[in-house]
C-alpha cells in the first residue's frame, strides 16, 4: 500500500454482510445498525467515505467514547419464584447514576459528567477535580507500558479538566489472576498473572513517581476470572481554582497541539477496548509512555493557565486528535492540516496521524493574540507546541492533508448520529438459603483467622505501597500505611495547603486546616452472587472508609467505574442494570452524588479451552469527602492500653461472597444486605463523636469480618485487645454456638466499625451514638495478644499480634 495516501471506501451500494465485513476488517467495532446509519449518511451526501472519515466515526461512536450500552433503552425483567416484574428504562445511566446527582442537586457540585473529570467545591475559591480511568486491555498485553500509560492518561484528564487542574494525589486499584496460577494453563501471548502484576506495579510506579504525584490510596484483588483480562484502574485528584473550572472555544481561535510527538503507537485503542482478547491479540494497540514529557506539560500548562493564555484544553486520550479536536470543536466546527503534526518518524498515513493515541499530548484553543506568548512559554521549558488548524463556525469537522480535503463531516452527525440501542435482560433470583457454616471449616478459629489474614485479598499490600511515593508534595496527612507496623488505612487524607499557598501566596487562608479524604469500595465476590448487592456494598464500603477516617457525609462525592463482560450476554447485562439501580438507590439515601465515571465493557477472553468467558462483574466506587479540619482525622492503629473497644452496626448471617466462604469453598449465597437509612444515621453519629475527639482509633469491617479488623488494629498499633463475642450486636437466631462464633468473627455484613474510645470518654461516646446499634465489646490490653471469647464465654482465640502480623505480611513479601 502506498504511504501517506487516503483511500475511498465503497459503502453506498454494498450488502449488509459486506457492511459487517468492512467494520470487522478495519477494526471499526461498529454493528450492522450503526454501519447502516453511516451508509445512509453518505448516500444522502452522495459520496463514499474516505478511510479517515470512517475511522473518525468509528472512534467517535465507540463504546469507549459514546457509552452505547449504558445510554441504551432497556427492558429489564426480574423473576423471583413465580413473581415476575418488568421495568423499562429510556436511558439506563441517565435514570440511575446521573439521576442521583440531578435529584440531589447539591450546590457544591461544580462540574459533573461533562468534562474530563468531575469537580466539587473545596472552599470558596477552589475546587477538587477527580477522575478514575481503566486501562485493562493494554495492561493484559504489555503490563508495564499499558499500566504506565493508564496513569499517564488519567493525569492528563485532570490537566485537561476545565482550564487545567494541578494533580495532588493518585489512586490505583488492580485486579489480577492468582499469583500461583498454574503455568500450564497459559499459552500464546498471554502472560502469567505474576508477570502481569509485576509489570503493572512497576509501570504505575515509574510513571506516577516521576510525575511527582503521591499515590495515597488503592486496592489489589486476585481472582481466577482476571487471569486473561486483568483490571487496572488509575485515578487522580487535582486542585483547581473555581474560576478556571470551565472552558469555552470560540471560532477563529487556533488549534494548538502541545507535548509529545505523534507515532504509530496506540492506534485503534478506543475500538480495541471493545474487542475480545485471545491468546494471539497483537500489542500494537498499546501506547508508549514518557512521564518526563508529561511532567514538562504539567509545569508549563499551569503557568499558561494562570496567565490566561488559552480558552480551552483537553487531552488526547482514546481516539487521539480525532477525539480531542473533535470534542473541542463540536459546538462550532474545526479545520486541521494534518501534515503539520510533529511526528516521531515519517511514514504515517493521514488517518493514522489523526487516530494515533501516542501519549503526552494536549490540545488547546488559543486566541490568536495570545499565541506568541504561549509558544514562547512552552519553548522556555523545552515543550513542543504546534499549530494544527483553527476553530470555525461551519459546524463541520474538516481535515486537510497537503492541500487535499480528506475529511468533511457534519458535527451534528458525528455527535448525534449514532443509533440508539434497545436492550433486554432478565434476572432470575438464586436461592439464598444459608448453608451450614461450620461443617466445612472446623472450629480452629485462630487458625482460620491466620489463614484469612494471609489470603491474597486480605493480606498486606506493603510491597506495592512502598514502591509508590505517597509523601511527595508533603500533603499526605493520613497515609496508606498506619501505625507502628504499617497497618492498612481505610482512607487517605490530603491537606492541599502547600499547593494553594505556594501557588497563590496571597490567598486568604481562613480555612487553613481544610483537606479532603479519598477511599474506595470494591468486592467482585459479592457480584458473583448479585450485582445489586455488590454495588450497594461497594458504595457502603467506600463511604464507611471515609467515615472511619473522620470525614462526614455532607460533602462526599462518588465515582463509578464499571468493568464488565459483554453486555450481549444476558447475565452480564442484567447485572449491569441491577448494579446501576443500586447506585441510584443507595447514593440517593447517603446524599452522595456521582460526579464522574467510566465503563469498560467487553472484558471478555477466550480461555485455555477455547471458551468465551467474562471477567467477574466488577464495580469500583471511589469516594471523596471534603474535611473541614484534617486535625480531626482518625487512624486505625490501636493507641493506648486501657481504652475501650466498641463495635458499631449489626452482624448478620451473611457469609455469601465472604473471604471465609472463599477460603472454605462453601458456595453460600447469603450476600450482605444493606439498610442505607440505618447506616447513614450511624455514620452521622460516628462523625459527630470524631469531631468531639472521642475516638482514638477506628477501622471498618470488610473482607474477613470483625476478626480481621480487630487483628489489623492490634498489629498496626503493636498492642493487644480482648473482646467478647457475646456482646456483639447480632442477628443470629436458631444457630449453634459454633455457628454463631463463625458468623460473628467472619461475616462481612455492611456498615460496621470497630472503634477505640479514649478512657473516660465512654459515656460521652455512648450518648453521641444513642439510637444506633452498637456495644462495648472489650478493651485495649496491656499485653500483646488478641484475645477473643466466644458466645459461651470461653477463650476461642488467643494469638500474639506479632504472629498475626507475620501471617498478614507473608503472602506478598519478597516478590
Amino acid at each position: 500500500m502506498m504511504e501517506n495516501k487516503t483511500t475511498v471506501i465503497n459503502i453506498s451500494n454494498v450488502s449488509d454482510t459486506q457492511l459487517e465485513q468492512i467494520s470487522k476488517k478495519n477494526l471499526l467495532s461498529l454493528n450492522l445498525q450503526e454501519m447502516k446509519a453511516v451508509q445512509a449518511y453518505f448516500i444522502k451526501i452522495r459520496r463514499n467515505p474516505t478511510d479517515i472519515e470512517l475511522e473518525t466515526i468509528a472512534q467517535t461512536w465507540s463504546e469507549h467514547c459514546k457509552h452505547k450500552t449504558l445510554t441504551a433503552s432497556v427492558t429489564y425483567t426480574e423473576i423471583d419464584g413465580k413473581k415476575k416484574t418488568v421495568k423499562n428504562y429510556d436511558n439506563l445511566i441517565k435514570e440511575t447514576v446521573f439521576k442521583v446527582t440531578k435529584d440531589l442537586n447539591k450546590k457544591w457540585c461544580v462540574s459533573v459528567f461533562k468534562d474530563n473529570a468531575g469537580v466539587i467545591e473545596f472552599n470558596d475559591k477552589y475546587g477538587i477535580a477527580f477522575k478514575v480511568e481503566t486501562h485493562n486491555h493494554p495492561s493484559a498485553l504489555e503490563p508495564y507500558g499499558g499500566a504506565g500509560t493508564g496513569i499517564g492518561g488519567v493525569i492528563r484528564d485532570i490537566l485537561g479538566v476545565g482550564l487545567g487542574s494541578k494533580p495532588v494525589m493518585n489512586t490505583d486499584i488492580f485486579c489480577f489472576g492468582p499469583i500461583d496460577y498454574p503455568h500450564k494453563n497459559i499459552s500464546g501471548n498471554v502472560l502469567h498473572p505474576r508477570r502481569i502484576m509485576k509489570g503493572v506495579v512497576s509501570g504505575v510506579r515509574d510513571y506516577g513517581n516521576r510525575m511527582g504525584i503521591p499515590t495515597t490510596n488503592g486496592a489489589v484483588l486476585f481472582d481466577e476470572g482476571y487471569v486473561f483480562n486483568p483490571l487496572v484502574y488509575c485515578g487522580t485528584a487535582g486542585i483547581i481554582p473555581k474560576n478556571k473550572a470551565f472552558k469555552k472555544v470560540s471560532p477563529g481561535e487556533v488549534v494548538l497541539a502541545v507535548g509529545g510527538r505523534t507515532g504509530r503507537d496506540g492506534i485503534h485503542g478506543a475500538t480495541f477496548s471493545s474487542i475480545e482478547l485471545d491468546k494471539d491479540t497483537e500489542v500494537s494497540a498499546v501506547q508508549i509512555g514518557n512521564p518526563i514529557v508529561e511532567k514538562k506539560i504539567l509545569d508549563t500548562i499551569l503557568q499558561a493557565r494562570d496567565k490566561n493564555l488559552y480558552t480551552a484544553i483537553t487531552d488526547c486520550g482514546a481516539g487521539g486528535f480525532s477525539s480531542a479536536v473533535g470534542e473541542l470543536g463540536s459546538e462550532c466546527g474545526v479545520r486541521v492540516y494534518l501534515e503539520k503534526a510533529p511526528l516521531k518518524y515519517a511514514g504515517l498515513k493521514p488517518w493514522e496521524i489523526w487516530l494515533s493515541e501516542a501519549q503526552e499530548r494536549m490540545v488547546l484553543s488559543v486566541p490568536k493574540n495570545k499565541l506568541k506568548e504561549l509558544i514562547k512559554l512552552f519553548e522556555s521549558e523545552n515543550v513542543e507546541a504546534t499549530v494544527l488548524g483553527e476553530f470555525t463556525n461551519t459546524g463541520r469537522l474538516e481535515c486537510y492533508y497537503k492541500g487535499t480535503k480528506i475529511c468533511d463531516l457534519s458535527m451534528e452527525f458525528m455527535h448525534e448520529g449514532v443509533p440508539k440501542r434497545h436492550l433486554d435482560a432478565t434476572w432470575i433470583y438464586k436461592s439464598v438459603k444459608p448453608k451450614a457454616v461450620v461443617k466445612s471449616a472446623g472450629k480452629d478459629y485462630a487458625q482460620t483467622l491466620n489463614n484469612l489474614l494471609a489470603m491474597p485479598n486480605v493480606c498486606s499490600k506493603e510491597w506495592i505501597i512502598r514502591q509508590y511515593d505517597h509523601e511527595v508534595q508533603g500533603q499526605t496527612v493520613i497515609k496508606p500505611l498506619q501505625g507502628k507496623n504499617a497497618g492498612p488505612g481505610d482512607a487517605c487524607v490530603i491537606w492541599p495547603r502547600i499547593s494553594i499557598e505556594a501557588e497563590y501566596p496571597k490567598t486568604d487562608i481562613k480555612d487553613k486546616y481544610r483537606g479532603f479524604a479519598v477511599s474506595c469500595g470494591i468486592n467482585p465476590n459479592f457480584g458473583k452472587i448479585d450485582a445489586y448487592a455488590m454495588a450497594a456494598g461497594a458504595i457502603d464500603e467506600a463511604v464507611r472508609n471515609l467515615v472511619a477516617t473522620g470525614a462526614g457525609l455532607e460533602k462526599t462525592a462518588l465515582l463509578d467505574n464499571f468493568c464488565w463482560g459483554s453486555p450481549n450476554k444476558n447475565e452480564q447485562l442484567a447485572g449491569l442494570i441491577r448494579a446501576s439501580q443500586a447506585c441510584y438507590d443507595i447514593a440517593k439515601v447517603y446524599e452522595t452524588p456521582f460526579i464522574s465515571g467510566k465503563d469498560s465493557l467487553y472484558n471478555e477472553y477466550i480461555d485455555e479451552k477455547g471458551k468465551s468467558k467474562s471477567i467477574p462483574m466488577t464495580l469500583l466506587i471511589s469516594a471523596m469527602a471534603i474535611m473541614n479540619d484534617v486535625r480531626k482525622a482518625v487512624t486505625m492503629d490501636l493507641k493506648y492500653s486501657g481504652n475501650s473497644i466498641y463495635v458499631l452496626g449489626s452482624t448478620k448471617q451473611e457469609l455469601g461472597g465472604s473471604q471465609y466462604s472463599v477460603l472454605n469453598k462453601t458456595n453460600d449465597y447469603t450476600v450482605p444486605g444493606l439498610d442505607p437509612q440505618k447506616a447513614k444515621k450511624l455514620y452521622i453519629a460516628l462523625n459527630n463523636a470524631m469531631n468531639k475527639s472521642l475516638v482514638a482509633a477506628c477501622h471498618d469491617c470488610s473482607e474477613g469480618g470483625l476478626a480481621v479488623s480487630c487483628a489489623e488494629m492490634c498489629f498496626a498499633g503493636g498492642i493487644g485487645m480482648e473482646i467478647a463475642l457475646n456482646k456483639v450486636p447480632a442477628e443470629t437466631k436458631s444457630l449453634t454456638a459454633a455457628e454463631k462464633n463463625i458468623i460473628l468473627l467472619f461475616s462481612e455484613s455492611n456498615s460496621r466499625f470497630v472503634v477505640e474510645i479514649k478512657k473516660g470518654k465512654e459515656k460521652e461516646f455512648e450518648k453521641a451514638l444513642k439510637g444506633n446499634i452498637f456495644a462495648r465489646i472489650g478493651s485495649v490490653t496491656f499485653g500483646k495478644n488478641l484475645i477473643v471469647k466466644g458466645v459461651e464465654n470461653q477463650v476461642i482465640i488467643d494469638e500474639e499480634t506479632d504472629n498475626l502480623k507475620d501471617a498478614w505480611q507473608s503472602t506478598l513479601k519478597g516478590l
Binding site: N209, P291, I292, K484
Partner: protein, 267 residues
C-alpha cells in the same frame, strides 16, 4: 543579610514547590523557583541569591544514572558561577535527587576525583518510608568543637523524616573516604533505630555505607541528604501524629530555619 533562595527546576523536578514553601515558612525573604534554562540564558543570575536548593525529583527521568544529566548541565554551563557561589560563603542544599546531583557535580568530593556516589537500593526497588536519623555530630555540636553544625542546630539527637528513592545507597570509592568524612565531621545524618543505634534494613532503607543519609562539604555549607526535610515542616505531616504528642513544627523546619538564620548572621 536577607536570605534569597533560588530553588532550581528542570524537566522532572518534583519537590520544588514544597522546598520553596519550607524556606518561605522558615522566614526566607525571597524564594524563587527558577528553571535552569533561565540561568543558562542569563535571564537570572545565580549571584543574586545566597541560598541554592536542588530539590527532589527525577531530573531528565534519571535515565542515565540519577542526577547525572542535571549535574553535567551545571558543570558545563555554570561551573564558574557555582564555585564563586560556594567560595563567597553562601549555602547549597541538595535533597534526594538534589543530593544525587551534588555528588555528581563534585561539590561534595574529598579530592579531584568523584569520591562517593548514590547507588541502587539494596532492595533493588523504589521505597517510600519514614526513617529515624541520628544527627552524627550532635555531641560535638554541644561541646561546640565543630563548625559543621550550620544545618543541624537546635535539632534533637534523633529525628524522623521520610525517604522516597530507588537510588539512595551512599557508597564511597574506598574506605579511607568514609574515614576522612567521619574525621572531618562531614557525616551529617545516619539512619538508625528508635534508640539511635545504627541498624540494618528497614532502618537503613537502602543499605548505605555506615548508614550515611547525608553529608556536607569541607566548609559545612554544602549539604546533601537523601531524606526529605521539606516533607516534615508541620506536625500533621508526620506519620504518627495521630498516635503521639509532637511539636507543632517538624524537624525538617529547623534545617531550613538554620540556613535562613545563618545567612542573616554571617553574610
Amino acid at each position: 543579610m536577607k536570605s534569597k533562595v533560588i530553588v532550581l527546576r528542570t524537566a522532572g523536578t518534583n519537590c520544588d514547590k514544597e522546598t520553596g514553601y519550607a524556606f518561605k515558612t522558615a522566614g526566607a525573604q525571597t524564594v524563587d523557583l527558577v528553571h535552569i534554562n533561565r540561568l543558562f540564558k542569563k535571564e537570572v543570575k545565580l549571584s543574586d541569591y545566597n541560598i541554592m536548593a536542588i530539590p527532589g525529583g527525577f531530573s531528565f527521568g534519571d535515565d542515565i544514572s540519577a542526577g547525572k544529566v542535571f549535574a553535567n548541565k551545571l558543570i558545563y554551563q555554570l561551573s564558574g558561577e557555582l564555585k564563586k557561589f560556594v567560595d563567597s560563603g553562601k549555602l547549597i542544599i541538595g535533597i534526594c535527587n538534589g543530593f544525587q546531583v551534588l555528588v555528581k557535580t563534585g561539590l561534595l568530593d574529598i579530592d579531584n576525583e568523584q569520591s562517593q556516589t548514590l547507588s541502587f537500593n539494596d532492595s533493588a526497588k523504589f521505597e517510600c518510608r519514614w526513617v529515624n536519623l541520628k544527627i552524627s555530630n550532635f555531641k560535638s555540636q554541644i561541646s561546640n568543637q565543630q563548625t559543621t553544625n550550620i544545618w543541624t542546630k537546635n535539632l534533637p539527637e534523633i529525628i524522623q523524616l521520610p525517604v522516597a528513592h530507588a537510588e539512595g545507597k551512599f557508597i564511597t570509592r574506598d574506605e579511607s573516604i568514609t574515614d576522612e568524612l567521619e574525621e572531618n565531621g562531614r557525616i551529617m545524618f545516619q539512619y538508625c533505630d528508635e534508640e539511635g543505634d545504627l541498624a540494618d534494613y528497614p532502618y537503613n532503607p537502602n543499605g548505605a555505607q555506615e548508614n550515611i543519609a547525608g553529608i556536607c562539604d569541607k566548609t559545612g555549607r554544602v549539604l546533601g541528604m537523601m531524606p526529605h526535610p521539606e516533607r516534615y515542616i508541620m506536625k500533621y505531616q508526620h506519620a504518627a501524629w495521630t498516635a503521639k504528642e509532637l511539636d507543632e513544627t517538624g524537624s525538617g523546619f529547623h534545617i531550613f530555619k538554620n540556613a535562613v538564620d545563618y545567612i542573616k548572621n554571617n553574610l
